[in-house]
Amino acid sequence: MSFVSVRDLKVAFDGVQVLHGINLDVRRGEAVGLVGESGCGKSVTWLAALGLLPGKAKVSGSVTVDGQELIGASPRRIEAVRGAKIAMIFQDPSSALNPVHRVGRQICENLRLHRGLRGDAARTEAIRLMDIVGIPSANTRFDLYPHEFSGGQCQRVLIAMALAGAPDLLIADEPTTALDATIQAQILDLLSNLRRQTGMAMVFISHDLGAVSTVCDRAAVMYAGRIIEANDIKQLFAAPRHPYTRGLFDAIPDLDAGRARLSLIPGTVPDPKRLPQGCAFAPRCARAGDLCREYQPELKEQTSTGLTACFHPIPIGSANRQEVFA
């Protein structure tokens, strides 16, 4: 059985639906990527699962952790899951730490909550965690404030905080997006290593398929509040079936070739208030036909491992990107 199971998760803000029924499983120890352009609902999916959305969000569906339902559960039950079973780190590490508390104290708070450590014991363990995540001279930096840390180091602190609860699953929501390229690589390395050492599962949220491929075993691609393709990472790379996935691949910066983006998908993500009828990607898709503009394609098994929501998936083995985009 999967550790976390998301079923038909829907979220609406002020009557505007932004998630249209997400189904996703995370098994113990595996690393799942969640990919898609900004605004397609990656963050909202996991914020909803952990009850972290503002009160105006209407959430329905089911999220179970170890068989225990989270949607509609009492605050106490959700609090018992947060940090202990599922930890989360965020996109903008500098603003994700409380500016008025010392960094060490913020880590100690996790240790008190999840391991009952206080005082010197908490301090010693917090410094050990800061060491593990690669913060130099942790002993002296324990007493500094977040504004005295760089963005990359703030993210390391957040990772240390997450580790404090020894979670079974770490949700990393675009953990490197706000960081410099070299720091990005270091943080990705750190996350991969930690996962290997602790055996925790990870959901790696990113708009960058390249980063996802270095960290994850499999990935789900989201578009406009739906998962439109899911597969293990090798197959996804070898044969993306959904034209949108294919577009994301073509947008991976090819630094070796000395070029930036090869191509961008034409057009923009639709506003959740004005979703087109049928497949939400149809207006940007060269393969779209009348059917696509009329009906919503279901997420269906297309290969032994993969699911795709497309009436006209790209045939396996097709190498010609011209046929995908006009």
Binding site: L52, A80, F90, A96, H101, N110, L113, Y145, E148
Partner: protein, 309 residues
């Protein structure tokens, strides 16, 4: 840190000096104390003697320099009316004013801040709307209108409380109520928006995501951050402890600083007016220094002289 403190102090003294100079010049250009003190029918030689006695015939700049020199030695002049040291007249009135403004400030804090926090935590609830309405009412209605309305209701119609004077604690109730209602509204609204702003910050989500109960998120993570803007407002209010009662003291004939300045301005009792302004300016400047100090305590990013990028 020391350098920073000294710079702050120098600025504070400069502010006081500017206020005093401005008051000095405006007062001297706006009417002749001799005429007012002695009356319009006073004989010319009495007026001349008065002007000579108070140095009013010297050129303005000479009077000004003399005044500065005087202040430097902590001599704040003599009241033209009472012939006694102006500073004594002023300090004598301070307790009466503080007897109104301090309870009023405590009420504003004790009611306004919790109301604002509650409203922020229960947005769009009936209580929240009630707080917003009270706040708007509180700071749109001028205090002289509010004071008169309260007098009409509680003194004239119901006869529960005295309409003015100072002869026991019940005389303070209406003035304090008049002063605090607006301030409660301002505190409530300010606190509410500070809390709402803070509750939307990413670090609040981090605190929730670590499994902290909501109470602790509010107390340990939201409030310490919301305290910074609230302290700014608090600083204004503390600075106004002495000057904040002018209107209300006049309505309720309360013998405090406010009444003193109104009467002294009317009499052109220059030394007293200047002295009151000096005390007011000093209290505001002091409140400012306290706020600056509090900022450093509350927010490490605003601490000066160490380790900031």
């Amino acid at each position: 840190m020391l350098k920073f403190t000294l710079a702050k102090l120098a600025r504070a003294l400069l502010t006081i000096l500017l206020v005093m100079s401005f008051a000095f010049i405006v007062l001297r250009l706006s009417g002749d104390p001799a005429q007012i003190m002695l009356g319009p029918d006073a004989p010319q030689d009495a007026v001349d003697a008065f002007r000579a006695r108070w140095g009013l015939d010297d050129p303005l700049w000479q009077q000004y320099l003399a005044y500065l020199k005087q202040i430097m030695t902590f001599d704040f002049g003599i009241s033209m009316r009472d012939q006694s040291p102006a500073i004594d007249l002023v300090l004598e009135r301070v307790p009466a004013t503080l007897a109104l403004t301090i309870p009023a400030l405590l009420l504003k804090i004790a009611i306004g801040i919790p109301a604002g926090i509650y409203a922020a935590l229960h947005r769009e609830s009936i209580a929240d709307r009630g707080v917003i309405m009270f706040a708007i009412f509180g700071f749109t209605i001028p205090s002289f209108v509010l004071g008169l309305v309260l007098v009409l209701i509680f003194a004239v119609n119901l006869g529960w409380l005295p309409a003015g004077g100072q002869d026991g604690w019940e005389y303070a109730i209406l003035p304090i109520a008049t002063m605090s209602i607006g301030g409660i509204g301002i505190f409530a609204r300010f606190t509410r928006s500070a809390m709402i702003e803070v509750l939307g910050q990413p670090y609040i989500r981090t605190a929730m995501a670590k499994g902290l109960p909501w109470r602790e998120v509010v107390w340990k993570h939201a409030l310490p951050n919301a305290a910074v803007p609230i302290v700014t407002l608090l600083g204004f209010m503390v600075g106004a402890l002495i000057a904040g009662a002018i209107v209300v003291e006049s309505i309720f004939s309360w013998p405090g600083i406010g009444r003193l300045i109104v009467v002294s301005v009317a009499n052109r009792d220059l030394a007293v007016v200047q002295c009151v302004l000096l005390v007011i300016a000093a209290s505001m400047v002091m409140a400012n220094l306290l706020v600056d100090f509090a900022y450093g305590v509350l927010d490490p990013r605003l601490r000066h002289g160490h380790g900031a990028h």
